[in-house]
């Protein structure tokens, strides 16, 4: 009898605990941002690595002080941001201020999850058209970015000098230089042709500069750009390993002296400063001399999610505006090797950070990936990286895009 009672109690306890813990999961509500209190803003971004985390924190703190709010910041890894946003949208716990990578803005805006900045009279005129294009969905601007990046051609100054080679400006020069710089276990050039959006991003400057376009993928211009990559790998100037390299791997190859030149972005500059050789950068070469080098625009924007609380939304919009004002724009650009999005301060910026000269020029013509296709961009991007992979692994370049489009 006695034993039974103990067992009964234990079992009841166990069942009760499970029931309780089952309930507490669904019971949470919106937390701090209910009601009309707008003194605290929640912020979500993906700058979770140092030094970016601290550098962005400094900018956030400065703006928090200016707008007169306290911040609750959460950072998640880059690859998890969209999933986090979707989960929080579902549980109605969206942050007051949300950072998004620029090609994702339209997809999220299309869901109705973001508030258009025109609601809060935010001035969007001083910014470079490409970042505004990226953040625009159906005529409304949804976010502002303080500073952006793009791609350029980095080269090992010592090696080029040794061979008496000038930094290439056209595709023919690029092929010649790459072939001449290939020696032993060193390749002339490195880029990332990996099977994800990163590969697409690296290919875009070649595709766009050649007059190719994402609205017509199976075009001679795109095929010609792909042929350039195929030739570079085919003649051994670029490692076949490129099909599996991330941009980080490309930088490692360059740093280790295994590639004399690389296609990469200015976010690599902090690591490159530790290189034991001299390096510099130029704009991505174009097919024929005199053409414009058109590279994709990279970087993040700050947006105001639709939280249903007008008071915090207004504060958040003020905050987003502050995050892209001249002062913040300049300081973030300087600290993180980005180019300010405010066209009026780019020249002043280049004077301060001469390493960024090539990127400053490149930004002026840069295009947003979602500028033409909007929320349909990911489909095109998938076709592009599949076509690159097909081309490099043996499908003729003029058939690769058609084949990739079949899915």
């Amino acid at each position: 009898m006695h034993k039974n009672r103990i067992l009964l109690t234990a079992a009841a306890f166990a069942a009760g605990t499970v029931a309780l813990s089952g309930c507490s999961g669904g019971g949470g509500d919106k937390g701090g941002d209910g009601g009309g209190d707008a003194s605290t803003l929640t912020v979500l971004d993906y700058y979770n690595n140092e030094p970016d985390k601290t550098l962005v924190q400094e900018a956030l703190d400065a703006c928090a002080e200016e707008v007169g709010v306290t911040l609750e910041r959460e950072t998640v890894p880059g690859a998890d941001l969209i999933q986090t946003v979707l989960q929080r949208a579902q549980s109605k716990t969206m942050p007051d201020v949300l950072m998004l990578d620029n090609p994702d803005v339209q997809e999220i805006a299309a869901t109705g999850g973001l508030a258009p900045l025109s609601e809060f009279d935010v001035d969007t005129s001083p910014f470079t058209q490409a970042i505004i294009d990226a953040a625009t969905y159906e005529g409304e601007v949804y976010g502002l970015g303080p500073a952006v990046n793009t791609l350029g051609l980095f080269y090992n100054v010592d090696l080029l000098k040794e061979k008496g080679i000038e930094p290439p400006t056209t595709w023919d020069e690029l092929k010649e230089a790459s072939a001449a710089l290939t020696e032993g276990d060193r390749y002339g050039l490195a880029f990332s042709a990996i099977a994800n959006y990163e590969g697409t991003w690296q290919f875009l400057p070649f595709m766009w500069s050649n007059g190719g376009d994402e609205t017509e993928l199976d075009s001679p211009e795109n095929a010609e750009a792909l042929q350039l990559w195929v030739d570079l790998i085919g003649d051994g100037s670029v490692s076949q390993g490129a099909v599996n390299w991330t941009q980080g791997d490309v930088k490692d190859q360059f740093m280790a002296g295994k590639a004399a030149m690389m296609v990469n972005g200015p976010w690599q500059i902090p690591s490159l400063q530790e290189a034991d050789f001299e390096w510099s950068s130029v704009e991505i070469p174009v097919n024929h001399a005199g053409e414009d080098s058109v590279a994709p625009l990279g970087g993040e924007v700050w947006t105001v999610p639709e939280t249903g609380n007008d008071a915090t939304k207004a504060k958040a919009a003020e905050f987003v505006e502050c995050m892209s004002n001249e002062k913040t724009s300049m300081s973030i650009a300087e600290a993180r090797f980005l180019v300010p999005t405010r066209t009026d301060i780019i020249d002043e910026y280049i004077e301060k950070v001469p390493d960024m000269a090539a990127f400053g020029e490149q930004i002026k013509t840069a295009r947003a990936r979602t500028g033409k296709l909007g929320a349909d961009w990911p489909d095109a991007a998938t076709v592009i990286y599949n076509a690159i992979q097909l081309g490099i692994t043996g499908t003729p370049a003029d058939e690769a895009f058609a084949k990739a489009e079949q899915g």
Partner: protein
């Protein structure tokens, strides 16, 4: 006295029932919450147009079998199904043969054998994402240690992860490495249970070496072998991290499997409905193997 006994007995039965019931409740709640709910949710999701918009609006229109049609008619479905089969068969064969060989080897008592057996578990303890990152650098075409090693013997560099013809083999090799500890552990346990007397009796009749292995070890190990293989199939079908870490499904989709398709359509293309359809197809395949296993063991019991 005599009249009181049945009443007490009845009351005790009722209380026993409650006790039994209460003991089942935690397990039942757990199963329903963490197995039942996800499976039902996955099933319903595969019949809905479930996209990024759904998370904001809560609307997921019913589309019937459309998602399954999209999944099955996609050009990558055939190749991924074939790759899944090749990957599973190849991994299983390698894991099992090497695992059994190692298990037999460790049955011999020799100095440090238990230490070495413990070390053999290391691949199992290593997070798969770390393991695949390490293998990625080992298999690198230009500077990977494997090609450097092969170079010593005058062999050409093998494009392990960069050629569509070789990538699947490379991925299978890595997955074999990952699976060996699991196979060794189960098979070694099975070997320990075979009575020593059987071998002694057999050796008197002249059955040693291969003969003993064929007529004593294998028949006695049959139950363990079938468990190992069925679990192996189920674990290998769903392998995601090894392939994602090594090739991400590339080059040129050469290492796409149904699991990778499911992941990519769900979490890269954000078409959760189609992704759920892919994963349900995978669950169905696993289920077929589970049923084959259950039937097989039932037959063994009947015999």
């Amino acid at each position: 006295m005599t009249t009181a006994t049945p009443i007490r007995a009845r009351r005790r039965i009722r209380r026993d029932d409650v006790v039994k019931f209460m003991f089942v409740v935690p397990a039942a709640v757990y199963v329903l919450l963490f197995f039942g709910y996800p499976i039902v949710k996955n099933l319903t999701m595969s019949f809905q147009d479930y996209t990024t918009k759904t998370f904001f609006t809560g609307e997921a229109p019913w589309v019937g079998l459309d998602n399954y049609v999209t999944a099955i008619t996609s050009n990558l479905f055939g190749p991924s199904l074939l790759n899944t089969a090749l990957f599973t068969a190849g991994s299983l064969l390698g894991q099992f043969v090497i695992g059994l060989a190692l298990a037999l080897f460790f049955q011999k008592k020799f100095p440090l054998s238990s230490v070495m057996r413990a070390l053999l578990l290391l691949p199992w303890l290593l997070p798969l994402i770390v393991a695949s990152a390490t293998w990625r650098s080992i298999l690198d075409q230009d500077s990977g240690i494997l090609n450097r090693f092969l170079g010593v013997f005058g062999l050409d560099a093998v494009p392990w992860l960069t050629s569509p013809d070789v990538a699947l083999i490379a991925v299978i090799i890595v997955n074999i490495w990952v699976g060996i500890p699991f196979n060794v552990t189960l098979l070694y346990g099975g070997l320990q249970d075979i009575p020593e007397e059987l071998y002694e009796a057999a050796s008197l009749d002249g059955a040693t070496g291969w003969k003993a292995f064929w007529h004593i070890t294998l028949p006695n190990l049959r139950a363990v072998i079938s468990v190992t293989l069925v679990l192996g199939v189920v674990y290998t079908l769903k392998v995601l991290d090894v392939i994602l870490g090594l090739t991400g499904g590339g080059p040129a989709n050469a290492t796409q499997t149904i699991a990778i398709r499911s992941y990519q359509t769900s979490f890269i293309d954000f078409e959760f409905g189609v992704g759920a359809a892919f994963s349900n197809i995978l669950i169905l395949i696993s289920l077929v193997f589970a049923i084959i296993y259950l039937r097989g063991t039932r037959k063994a019991v009947d015999e």
